[in-house]
Amino acid sequence: MTVGVVMLVHTALGRAEQVARHWAAAGCPIVIHVDKAVPRKTYDVFVQSLSDVPDLKFCKRFRCEWGTWGIVAGSQSGSELMLASFPQVRHVYLASGSCLPLRPVKELLNYLAARPRTDFIESATTADVPWTVGGLDEERFTMRFPFSWKRHRYLFDKAVAVQRALGLKRRMPNGIVPHMGSQWWCLTRQTLSAILQDPERPEYDRYFRNVWIPDESYFQTLARQYALKIESRSLTLSKFDFQGKPHIFYDDHLQLLRRSDCFVARKIWPYADRLYEAFLTDEAAAMKKTEPNPGKIDRIFAKAVERRTRGRSGLYMQSRFPNEDWENGVTAAPYSMFQGFAELFENFEPWLAKATGARVHGHLFAPDRAHYADNQTAINGALSDSAIIRDYNGKAFLTNLIWNTRGERQCFQFGPADNQDVCWRIAKDPNAQVSVITGAWSVPLFRSNKDFADIRREAALLQKIESEHMNILRSPYTKARVRIWTMAEFIEAPMEPLQGILDEIGQTKLRRIAEVPKMVDLSGFGQFLQNLKNQGMHPYMMGDFPVERGVAATQQRPRKPYLVQ
């Protein structure tokens, strides 16, 4: 008893010949189906070149276009010829010209000999698996597909649309349940002959002729009718990308393939000389007893699909430029923006750096330059501190900064005097942690030595800008983690908000803050605000500040509340 190999070949005939000889050397009978699209002359040369191989036949040729019936017709004719000509065959293995046996054929023979009644065919109902690409899963079976997807895409799509609109549906013959799976199978003589010799086969064939991609469903569905024992997996390692086309293996996959425990892999790049050499000529080396680790291949290809469909969050580059709100994360990592803290506390930046271990910048969007931590003139990625370059594309500046410094938490100061271009981008970014003390911009004004008329003008402007920014932060589109206090509210009890912020940054070395940043002296601030009011400029962003109150004023400790049961 042995295994017969049906090979479907359409390009790289030289490689197909090599593989056929490899199978034949192990005593497997072979039937080759060559695509009708291969020119007669090339075909003849190919037949000639394999004429010295015993137990090798060529079957009737069909035109095999992807997604059409031809592939099934080819497999059928190949299988029929195989069953008829080689009675010693118990299992039939369907392979392609670009398949490559990874383990010695002997092992496959032994493996199948130990499982004489098992059919290896991946076969799952369409209702249960979301494999399909392009939105056609059940509809593959209920519609007709008279046009080629590859050559007449427009007509293909129109035909689908028309059938959907008219609600046209076909019924499955005999109420069979459609199954789908990898087109590469290994069936027993019993099952395969039952499928091929079924008296109702003409009806099934007629039906599947108009199904889309019947090679993934014809045998998969019908095997369910007859098989005694189905193992729903393919013995051929074959990975698909997000468009449903197979991943290709190259020379640099050699180690990976050695560690897979599959018998056959597809699809191999025809010029991958090292792979063919390693697996076809040098059997002893191919079987270097490395520990099988098939999961690794899965991971690599799953990651490739993930990269193509979701990409790396926060990366904007030549081949990834997501539309707004389709970014899968506006920026690469969480970061914190502080507004008003550096104004209210004298040593806020060093204190925060010490308490969190994060990199704490000054006002990155200041009008003169980007104030990086430690007064640097550039930062990771050679991002310059020039305000002109930054303002040329403020959003790119922010996303670049966060991308370049992945792995290190970034904190920066912001304020109404800074460039406000990035406000929306930050507000809509779930990675942003925004903490604002409104009205704190007035503290530097209060402490400055400017003419009061200038102060008044500037205060009015800053208040207007900050108020607009707060509207953005409070809008329903905001996804950032936003905390807003008025200045009056904040200085009432500064510890609690600070602790909350540190906890959220999450890198605190201590569970409770040991050291508190030093607040600037605010005595006389209430009067300063009153003066602004007296000049007709009502500062409302900082909350209610009584004229007399200063932070220095000692507050009476409130009595402990009695607990009343």
Binding site: Y250, W326, N328, L383, N400
Partner: protein, 336 residues
């Protein structure tokens, strides 16, 4: 994109093609070996002027990558580069003395030669100082990439221009013919690029890098464009619009994903900033044959006199394509 606009672009494309046909008269055939080209050869197109010192390594680099035939347009060289190219077995050369600027910086000449010879071939269009790096380029030849692109029905492949520069003054290490220029200019800026979209042609506009940081720090809007689409499965209806930054039909410019994913892309290592640069800049300044009244070269000349130092503390040293992939300058996409 309305019907009217797409029709306008169609007319524009036709206009560029007619222009390319008109400009063919400026080309004088020196040696034509196009009969050697096999149907699946990868072709390379290049205009050059006085780059003899760079050519040996350039040809070697792309031959090893798997380019089958080279097309050169020589723009009035006087350093013997024409003779050198003429003797190469896989090169076809045309010569012109006409204005580079009026051939839209060589685009018209190459468009004509591409229409004539590149139909159905994968076609790489680069300058003599540009070196293509693509995912897995250390283990897979270019043919692997083009086969994969074919299988994925992708017709154009993006490779952003990455300006490379040496540490120290540009003229510190002299370049020897045949040497890998990346050995000298081995540093680059990894993360200061800004992107915006050009809705008319559907391409991205990338600016930044050392040129924006040093030469254009006061006028970043004028900084040169870095987006390029150098590798295209050519069809005779296609044409480049401005350098290799944009193509028509504009679908070919859609080399980026808009829904969060990453398409596969490469990088063109731009080894312009080596010791030959100052002389080149001085010459080009005089000829005034470069883009936007040679504004780029004016800016270079002004900065170069004072301090020709592009390197900074945050510059990154080039190792291989995987490094560029991790830094997010290029992507493997779903090629694994």
């Amino acid at each position: 994109m309305g019907l009217i606009n797409s029709y306008r672009l169609r007319l524009q494309r036709k206009r560029w093609r007619i222009r390319a046909y008109r400009k063919r008269r400026e080309l004088k055939e020196i040696v034509n070996r196009t009969a050697q080209i096999k149907s699946d050869d990868i072709l390379l197109y290049c205009t050059q002027r006085n780059e003899k010192i760079r050519l040996p390594y350039f040809l070697d680099y792309y031959r090893k990558m798997g380019v089958g035939h080279f097309f050169f347009v020589d723009n009035d060289s006087d350093d013997g580069s024409l003779d050198y190219l003429r003797d190469q077995p896989d090169v076809s050369v045309w010569r012109t003395r006409a204005s580079y600027k009026r051939a839209r910086f060589g685009v018209d000449w190459l468009n004509y030669l591409q229409i004539k010879h590149a139909h159905g071939h994968w076609t790489l269009t680069v300058d003599p100082d540009e070196f293509l790096v693509y995912p897995f380029c250390d283990t897979r030849p270019l043919r692997a990439l083009t086969d994969w692109l074919d299988a994925s029905s992708i017709k154009s492949f993006s490779a952003m221009l990455l300006d490379m520069y040496p540490k120290g003054r540009l003229d510190e290490q002299p370049y020897q013919s045949g040497q890998d220029p990346i050995e000298i200019a081995s540093w680059f800026d990894s993360g200061n690029y800004s992107l915006s979209r050009n809705y008319k042609f559907a391409n991205l506009w990338i600016q930044g890098g050392p040129r924006a940081r040093v030469f254009f720090k006061d006028a970043p809007a004028q900084a040169p464009a870095l987006n390029k689409v150098p590798l295209v499965k050519w069809d005779r209806r296609y044409c480049y619009v401005s350098s290799t930054h944009m193509l028509l039909p504009r679908g070919l410019n859609q080399v980026y994903d808009e829904w969060g994913g990453e398409k596969a892309s490469g990088v063109l290592l731009h080894a312009k900033f080596i010791d030959t640069f100052s002389a080149k800049a001085a010459e080009e300044l005089e000829r005034g044959q470069h883009y936007a009244a040679s504004v780029e070269y004016k800016a270079y000349a002004a900065s170069l006199q004072t301090d020709p130092q592009l390197w900074c503390k945050w510059s990154e040293k080039y190792i291989n394509w995987r490094q560029l992939e991790i830094l997010g300058l290029m992507s493997k996409g779903n090629w694994a």
